[in-house]
Symmetry: C2
Subunit: 136 residues, 2 copies
């Protein structure tokens, strides 16, 4: 089923470093030009892809993920998080900064204490979908 064969061609080698910008010509043989064209049309632009990847990467560390899941239970200060996760406050603070830069968490000041919480509902959703996959 499905159009079996595909056009083939060999294209000039271009010494592309890593996953490069989607030039039309690539250094490898193309088996299904139609599929490639379709996928490229649907592809995100480079910048956006990187920003999206950065979000997942932030969740990709057990330490940061632990922070986010802890915050899913309610807002907490740096100190609470450190205690909860068994990490140093400095390490937690560093990670919180990254999470804040990516708009995954926000904070609220009350005196000398900063209360952190998840930035929006998407973060919860991301975690839940991930868990579903894990436990399927």
């Amino acid at each position: 089923m499905a159009s079996r064969a595909g056009k083939r061609r060999t294209v000039k080698s271009k010494a592309a470093s890593s996953f490069g910008p989607p030039d039309i010509d690539c250094q490898v043989r193309t088996v299904h030009l139609d599929r490639v064209a379709k996928a490229r049309r649907a592809a995100l632009e480079r910048r956006e892809l990187q920003r999206l990847a950065a979000i997942y990467k932030a969740l990709g560390d057990p330490g940061r993920l632990g922070i986010l899941m802890a915050l899913a239970a309610g807002e907490m200060c740096v100190c609470d998080l450190a205690a909860t996760l068994g990490a140093s406050e400095s390490a937690v603070s560093h990670q919180l900064r990254r999470l804040r830069d990516l708009a995954l968490v926000k904070n609220r000041r009350e005196g000398a204490v900063l209360y952190y919480s998840l930035d929006d509902q998407h973060v919860n959703q991301l975690i839940e979908v991930g868990l579903s996959h894990l436990r399927e």
Copy 2:
């Protein structure tokens, strides 16, 4: 609002390396014992947290994320993916292996060609939720 003050105590220093196993005693002052206790109760066990983080980490690389998004448009062989993303087939193959190990993609053989596709619907969901967050 919210019970303002929290019990404080200073606990023995334990030289915990990185985000460690949630021992009850931690090396820092605890401001809100109740919140910490609650968060710990809701926390995943260590193993599960790591497996979940591994899934996000897999999505956290532009190359792999590009592969997954390309596959969201339909199954493709290694060669197609390489052409689509402008990467070497070897690099793609290496990444596909990681994605396969995490059950994010699966493949189907047809002669000498391996057709890859997303393993299940959760992967699509993860991507969509991420995009929502990005574009909010």
